[in-house]
């Protein structure tokens, strides 16, 4: 059974269909990319999947559970973790603490355990701290652990956001245009990190504008245009797909395809 299955998902804002009858599956261990011209409905799709708003109709199943219309934090707690197109860091906290917060989903304890700090709590804190350091090493930010997050250059803020999402040990990671605003070098570093995350066994859905990045790392691609799915297949199939070519030629962003 697929890890995520989206069925006939429709999202309407007034008279505008941002998503219209979109269906696709994501298998465990897969790296799927969602592409499409600006305004095709990619981010809306992410927002619906991650529970930020309920779809007008259709259903979303994650790991066998119906998560259609479930609240965002509930969806996240069940292991479906997303990042944002515009980085959403905890700017006033250190790089390390940003990642430590990421482990919220996979840790436990509230006021009383914080106050009395039983043995399991102290062990958990230590694991959280060490886990954060390890993830910072993984994305190459270990030297900046104690820096305030908003002091990082933009490309590194992106990596931090990815590290923070990884701290939640996601079963499915949704990356919303992680390469937006990055230069070529930074994009390459990011592609390398995404590939390593994928190899380590995490299922990923990637929304991306950068075609060279998508074609390089995605195993399968879903193409949206005007809120509808117009194609689905391997990078080779997508490159040759007449509807995709038409959509991109007709649109304004063929440039780097």
């Amino acid at each position: 059974m697929a890890l995520l299955s989206v069925r006939e998902e429709t999202m309407r804002f007034g008279g505008l269909f941002a998503n219209q009858s979109i269906s696709f599956d994501v298998e465990e261990g897969e790296l799927l990319a969602v592409i499409g011209p600006n305004g095709a409905g990619k981010t809306t799709l992410f927002n619906v999947i991650s529970g930020f708003f309920p779809p007008t109709s259709g259903s979303i199943h994650f790991d066998g559970e119906d998560i259609t219309g479930a609240s965002a934090h509930h969806v996240a707690s069940s292991g479906l973790v997303r990042t944002y197109q515009l980085v959403q860091l905890f700017k006033h906290l250190t790089v390390a603490e940003n990642v430590e917060i990421g482990s919220h989903r996979v840790t436990r304890g509230s006021v009383f355990s914080a106050l009395f700090r039983p043995e399991w709590m102290r062990r958990q804190e230590k694991a959280v701290c060490e886990g954060a350091r390890e993830l910072l090493r993984f994305v190459g930010l270990e030297d900046q652990a104690d820096v305030q997050a908003d002091k990082l250059p933009y490309g590194r803020q992106r990596l931090l956001e990815v590290a923070r999402a990884l701290a939640a040990k996601p079963r499915l990671l949704l990356l919303d245009e992680p390469a937006a605003g990055l230069n070529t070098q930074e994009t390459e570093a990011l592609a390398e990190v995404i590939t390593r995350i994928h190899r380590a066994g995490t299922t990923i859905i990637l929304i991306e504008h950068d075609m060279s990045l998508v074609m390089k790392i995605a195993q399968r691609i879903v193409v949206l245009d005007f809120g509808k799915k117009i194609a689905e297949g391997t990078p080779e199939e997508i490159k040759a797909h007449p509807d995709v070519i038409a959509a991109y030629l007709g649109g304004t962003e063929m440039t780097d395809a």
């Binding site: 934090h73 996240a76 944002y84 006033h92 989903r105 840790t107 509230s110 914080a114 999402a165």
Partner: protein, 328 residues
């Protein structure tokens, strides 16, 4: 008013620097013991406010929300303790804990619907809460004796042992204030505290990491109410008299000045701010008619040169140390 909480992270390990603020509080209390009862009273108010602000800091500092209504819970604590002890002969400590429980429950009922609001709207709703409780304390004369106030509240005491002199009470207040900071520090440096900080940082990101925002906001609000209630009770016992004005808008404005001056979102900021804002006007009393001008001028200067509050200044030393380390 949206609260842009700037939160500086205190080092987790126990360094000698981290012992300075508690020692300073104890030194202040010690100084009080050698001084007149007048000085003792001023310091006592400072410590009571320190407790109030440390609680408010959970909601406004760590979690980054705005509450103009925390004085309502201080009123519940104050009037509750006054009535239970003066009229019904309760143990002060028991009354304090009991009224804290009432305030906590009240905070859940008030917070559950209002905390859906954000920014200015939340500020307005909480402000209304403060005003409502203020009006009740004036109008419900059979319970609160209205403008007359409630007098004859016995001093603090534990198990029949009363702290008769104000100096004994000052020491007790200092200990309670330090305990309040200790609890706050423990809660901040935990999974719970990080969840609060994530809400202050970015609600969308917190939600995407599985943080139940409504729940954590409510808990922070309730914790603030518990501290406020305790501060109200302690005030009633310390002064022996309370009236509606005590828990009015002035209390809200004072506590905001303390939070921002001391350093909102920091561990010691609320205490530092409470001491400065309480002691400064008294220290300037000699200036007579210039007192208020000098006082506000000093407050403004502090906010200009330490925009993140006085506790934020410790970050400067930290940076110096970091640079020396890199240089070496």
């Amino acid at each position: 008013m949206t609260s842009h909480a700037t939160i500086s992270i205190e080092p987790v390990g126990v360094r000698w620097q981290s012992m300075l603020p508690p020692l300073a509080v104890l030194a202040l209390a010690g100084l009080g013991l050698l001084s007149s009862d007048y000085v003792v009273t001023v310091l006592g108010f400072a410590f009571i406010y320190a407790i109030f602000c440390t609680g408010l800091n959970f909601f406004m500092g760590y979690t980054g929300q705005a509450s103009f209504g925390q004085s309502a819970f201080a009123a519940i604590g104050g009037y509750g303790s006054a009535i239970l002890c003066a009229d019904y002969g309760w143990e002060p400590l028991l009354a304090l804990l009991f009224t804290m429980a009432i305030s906590g429950v009240a905070a859940v009922f008030v917070g559950y619907p209002t905390l859906r609001l954000r920014g200015h709207y939340l500020a307005m709703a909480t402000f209304a809460l403060g005003l409502i409780v203020y009006e009740i304390s004036i109008e419900w004369t059979s319970l609160t004796q209205g403008y007359m106030g409630y007098s004859g509240v016995p001093p603090l005491g534990i198990a029949g042992f009363d702290l008769v002199t104000v100096k004994q009470q000052l020491v007790a207040l200092a200990v309670v204030a330090l305990f309040g900071v200790f609890v706050a520090a423990r809660l901040r440096q935990s999974r719970f505290g990080r969840a609060l900080a994530s809400i202050a940082g970015s609600e969308p990101a917190a939600r995407a990491l599985g943080v139940d925002i409504a729940r954590y906001k409510l808990i922070a609000f309730v914790i603030g109410a518990l501290y406020a209630s305790a501060a109200g009770s302690l005030f009633a016992h310390f002064v022996g008299f309370i009236s509606p004005e005590v828990f009015g808008v002035t209390m809200v404005v004072q506590s905001f000045a303390m939070l921002y001056l001391g350093g909102i979102g920091t561990m010691w900021g609320p205490t530092i701010g409470a001491v400065i804002v309480s002691v400064l006007p008294e220290a300037l009393r000699g200036l007579k008619e210039m007192q208020d001008i000098a006082y506000t001028a000093i407050l403004i200067f502090i906010l200009i040169f330490a925009p993140r509050g006085l506790a934020g200044l410790s970050a400067l030393f930290k940076r110096d140390r970091a640079q020396t380390r890199e240089g070496a």
